[in-house]
């Protein structure tokens, strides 16, 4: 219930007792400010790591074939293993549940690309449309390759941002035709890739197009896939071991032969990154909770002090007819009001400070330091609740002592 008279009474106590308002307000504002800053900086560190390890999909697996190093089942060592289209089909069927995205891959290095006199050499990759999430490539302009392109062996390409820059300057490459080793391809899309300059100098063309152009029959170079993100790191490692085993069987490779079938699973690396992130998260959480606890203790102390300081005043009020509930209500409303306003102020200062200094922290591996709104608002609410409880206990005590005892308090 909104009682204007009561609020007027509270505003008067707040404004006429600046020191204690300042004390409690400062404690709350400072706690929230610290919380926001520490949390923000922690998140900034986290963002940096996320960026470092996000150049490729974290759950990606690459499979390459090589030369056998051990004789097996009457076959000599030194035999070259060649992947073909049926290997792709085989893997896909065998691991339907585990695989999320899948793409075979044909790669051609040093392809000369020409557009209106500008030329340069690039790596051309023939892939499925599914390859895009594997590389974490982001389409800037146009589209990536489609299944229709794949089916029709269309002479289309999606080029990296830097390819566009090299060949087209500031002009738009979309819809233009470029020549790759003398054959004309239409640019259907331009992509950027968080993996850096190298990854942004690739040219992607439909797998079927590249296979027809650069390979004999249905030979191919490698497979790329991402596993189901629901798999745990251990399950993912088990999956790639099994994958290696079935491919070794299929191609009659000694299970101990490390070179002939090479399955590269990012899960191994992901595991340590994840562990590191977990530790970082725990540290951030610990700091956050620590700051909050410090704030709660601070506001509790101040509330006890405030009520103690006001004991005599409360005694006078009681002698004049204040009921215990009105005393408790007054103290609590004052405490809630001060904590809410101060908490909000601290929150705003913190968020703006992070915004203001965010850029300059990038050289300290702190990227985009920010705090989720619900986190700070939650923290503020926790402090307000703590302040309320911290105010309630001494207020209840003060309201229940006999007025004569309160009056004699000096």
């Amino acid at each position: 219930m909104f009682d204007l008279d009561r609020w007027q009474e509270i505003f008067q106590t707040i404004s006429k007792n600046k020191l204690r308002t300042l004390l409690s307000g400062f404690t709350i504002a400072f706690a929230i400010l610290l919380f926001t800053l520490l949390f923000g900086v922690g998140n900034g560190l986290k963002h940096t790591f996320e960026k470092q390890f996000s150049s490729d999909a974290a759950n990606s697996v690459y499979i390459r074939a090589g030369v056998t190093t051990k004789p097996y089942k009457g076959l000599q060592s030194g035999r070259t293993i060649q992947f073909r289209n049926d290997d792709g089909k085989f893997i896909n069927e065998k691991f339907e549940d585990e695989i999320q995205f899948f793409s075979p891959n044909v790669e051609r290095y040093n392809v000369q690309a020409i557009y209106e006199g500008e030329h340069n050499n690039y790596t051309v990759r023939g892939v499925y449309p599914d390859y895009q999430p594997l590389e974490s490539a982001e389409i800037k302009d146009g589209r990536f390759l489609s299944y229709l392109d794949l089916k029709s062996k269309a002479k289309v390409v999606a080029i990296g941002r830097l390819v566009e820059k090299d060949l087209f300057g500031n002009k738009n490459a979309l819809g233009k035709n470029i020549s790759l080793d003398g054959i004309s391809y239409k640019v259907v899309g331009v992509f950027s890739d968080p993996g850096g300059d190298q990854d942004e100098r690739f040219i992607y063309t439909p797998f079927s197009t590249a296979q027809g152009m650069y390979r004999i029959n249905d030979e191919l170079d490698r497979f790329g896939l991402t596993y189901n993100p629901k798999l745990t790191v251990d399950q993912a490692l088990e999956f790639s071991n099994l994958l290696t085993k079935v491919l070794q069987e299929k191609h009659n490779v000694d299970p101990r032969d490390q070179a002939a079938i090479r399955v590269q699973n990012y899960a191994e690396g992901t595991k340590s990154v994840k562990q590191f992130m977990t530790v970082l998260n725990v540290i951030i959480l610990f700091i956050g909770i620590g700051t909050l606890v410090a704030g709660i203790i601070g506001i509790s102390n101040i509330m006890v002090y405030i009520v103690k300081e006001r004991t005599k005043e409360l005694g006078i009020r009681k002698a004049l007819g204040a009921t215990p509930n009105s005393i408790i209500g007054m103290i609590m409303m004052e405490s809630i009001f001060v904590t809410a306003v101060a908490g909000y102020a601290g929150l705003l200062i913190g968020v703006f400070t992070l915004k203001a200094i965010g850029k300059s922290l990038e050289k300290y591996f702190i990227l985009n330091p920010s705090v989720e709104t619900y986190v700070v608002v939650g923290a503020t609410i926790i402090l307000i609740i703590a302040g309320t409880i911290a105010g309630y206990i001494p207020a209840k005590r003060a309201a229940s002592i006999k007025p004569i005892v309160a009056l004699n308090d000096e």
Binding site: R317, A319, G321, A322
Partner: protein, 230 residues
Amino acid sequence: MIRIEKLHKSYPIGKDFLHVLKGLDLHIKEGEFVSIMGSSGSGKSTLLNIVGLLDGHDTGKYYLNGQLIENLDEKKAAILRNKFLGFVFQSFNLINYKSALENVALPLYYQGMARKDRNKVALQYLDKVGLKDRAEHLPSELSGGEKQRVAIARALVTNPKVILADEPTGALDSTTTHSVMELLKEINREGMTVFVITHEEDVAGETDRIVRLKDGVIISDERVQKKAKV
């Protein structure tokens, strides 16, 4: 107005009890001007606190305005205090961050009266004690006598049945003592029951009836022989 029968009160001191009031009987009628006299430790402040519902009693009966006071919780006590009693303390007990007017208006706030109305009523009472021009002053800007007069205005503002004054002149010099007592007398003449606690003979002499307390019992209770008015 106030009737006390066989009132006992003791305070715990460590493991023992200090028996302060030992079976008091007292009857104060409406409109009386009574003083309780006694040296310190005689139990007079304890008596006033019990009468003022600031403290409870152990055994015996206490009727305030015909109502038996027993099993009083703090809420009921607060309402009764607000309705029937006005307090004047030795140390004034004004709230130091509120102006004279706001101090006087505070009991009305606890009655739920609107701000505008209670300020109007409070100003009337300040006028009555001669401090209308001091309404916006803080207690720290007032002299001792003025503070006590503000406190009296505050005690009067709810139009209570009884004014309870605990050493109202204890912190004042003789001139201001006289003016405060004159004010109390005037209030009494208007029909208010006034109950003063003091250890000063002069102050007690200004009242109509003196009750003397010693070691928790009443040793005398007599009417003051008024000097013939000159």
